[in-house]
Symmetry: C2
């Protein structure tokens, strides 16, 4: 069994940082000429997988856009997950789950357990109940060769107050932010990866346009962790910005784009993926 | 269309604060002699609904324990949700969802839209991306006569550092905590409920054993909001403690118990619900 960090490293090295979002939301289904139904979401997802395979290494289905159709939507998502994994893509289920104890085990069972109908390579997690409350889930992920990306700092303007708040807990270093605490709380899982230059199994979500210093996420806080960075493409950051935005940890970034790619429609999506991916390759060569 | 706050008020007035958790986790399914499968979770959920109907006003299915079975688990959950709503119970889907923009709309469509297969009366939400990012979802809830409970402060020990962190945003009052900010950010939805003594549509999750002063959630911060309080029963707080723990907002508390009730087994669960419910009635009479 290879670790998630190794599989992700290989995918990024072979295909570059671009991760294609699979977001079958209402207006896109309409633009693609598909029904606003679980069947439409399934068809949309399968076509995006087809277009992504061989062009990028990573895809990220957005669970909410399947969940809105209930159990039928989840059945569609299951088909999309299977197709993506069979195509050799690394699959990050963007579910942002977060709970405690045995409830969290339920989510780990759903997304990170080999043979589960919703099996992915990694899942996104939300740490409002404390990133330490995810400890058992992260251990489960590692045991199964799976990964996770824990929300740390995001680009939406409503997020800053919370994610930059100062921890006053007795254990906290002076000036520790909430986002910095999340990074610290997951660092144990990645262990020596921070020093060896390898990629650990547990990552962080860090928006591309976040002021990393202001939220306490300098390069040292992120070293060894895969970084899932939404905010490229339609949301504002450009591929050419990646090296400067992520400095010493730029090689660990998974740059997620959805709208900028999916707006190309069913006929143009494969070409758009190739085009966007080439922009990242060019920026890495500079 | 009645508001969620009115329906919840009526349920609490008629049946008391006890909310029965529907948590078909592995060890409970085994104790109940049911398969560890979607069919087992469905049967478990339907039996708990039967036992709860007429004895309490509110139930809270824990989504993770259905999600672990994938789409089949969601089909089971749909059946449980329908049965609970047909039995006249107020149903809080404990999903702890949280995202931004159109993604969050997907979750609102799933849980808070009349006619959706996963329709509930209210859903729990997680505010790590900023409670303000939930604004459109909360507005959708109100428009549909639905409710939501946003995580504010929880009883698990890993949560304190984050939830008590101090907001340093320019808009923040001195000493505003993350949990206090969440309460402030949702207050607009409840509007005049804080002053009229009615119950607004949007609530907060506040663990029963949380030090409310330490996390910035005094009575004033909570007034007008329904309060979903896990932590009663097996987790430590007793029904007799409710009035002192929640002071001036005790009448707005939904006291959630799971293990303490479900451990009675299929033969004893109805009697256990009646017994636990009577303890809350007794504490309110003191």
């Amino acid at each position: 069994m290879t670790s998630f960090g190794s599989r992700l490293r290989a995918a990024l090295d072979a295909r570059g940082p671009l991760c294609v979002g699979i977001d079958p939301h209402g207006s896109l289904l309409e633009e693609w000429g598909l029904d606003a139904s679980a069947a439409g979401a399934r068809e949309f997802g399968l076509r995006v997988v087809d277009a992504a395979a061989g062009r990028v290494g990573v895809v990220k289905p957005q669970v909410a856009f399947f969940e809105r159709f209930g159990s039928a939507g989840f059945a569609a998502l299951e088909d999309v997950l299977v197709a993506a994994r069979e195509a050799g893509l690394v699959v990050i289920a963007d579910a942002k789950r977060g709970d405690i104890g045995s409830t969290m085990d339920g989510y780990a069972e759903a997304w990170l357990t080999p043979g589960s109908p919703l099996e992915a390579d990694a899942v996104t997690l939300s740490p409002y109940l404390g990133a330490e409350s995810l400890r058992a889930t992260l251990a489960t992920a590692v045991r199964h060769g799976k990964g996770a990306f824990v929300l740390a700092a995001t680009s939406n303007p409503e997020a800053f107050a919370l994610q930059s708040a100062q921890v006053v807990d007795v254990e906290a270093a002076d000036g520790q932010t909430v986002a910095g605490r999340v990074a610290r709380d997951i660092a144990w899982v990645n262990g020596s990866a921070a020093f060896s230059g390898e990629l650990g199994p547990i990552g962080l979500v860090v928006g591309a346009t976040v002021d990393r210093e202001a939220v306490g996420l300098d390069d040292d806080a992120l070293r060894g962790a895969p970084i899932l960075a939404p905010g490229f493409g339609a949301q504002g950051a450009q591929p050419a910005d990646l090296p400067s935005l992520f400095g010493g940890v730029a090689a660990n970034v998974v740059a997620s784009e959805s709208r900028s790619i999916l707006s190309a429609g069913p006929g143009g999506v494969a070409a758009r993926i190739a085009e966007r991916s080439a922009l990242y390759a060019k920026s890495a060569d500079v």
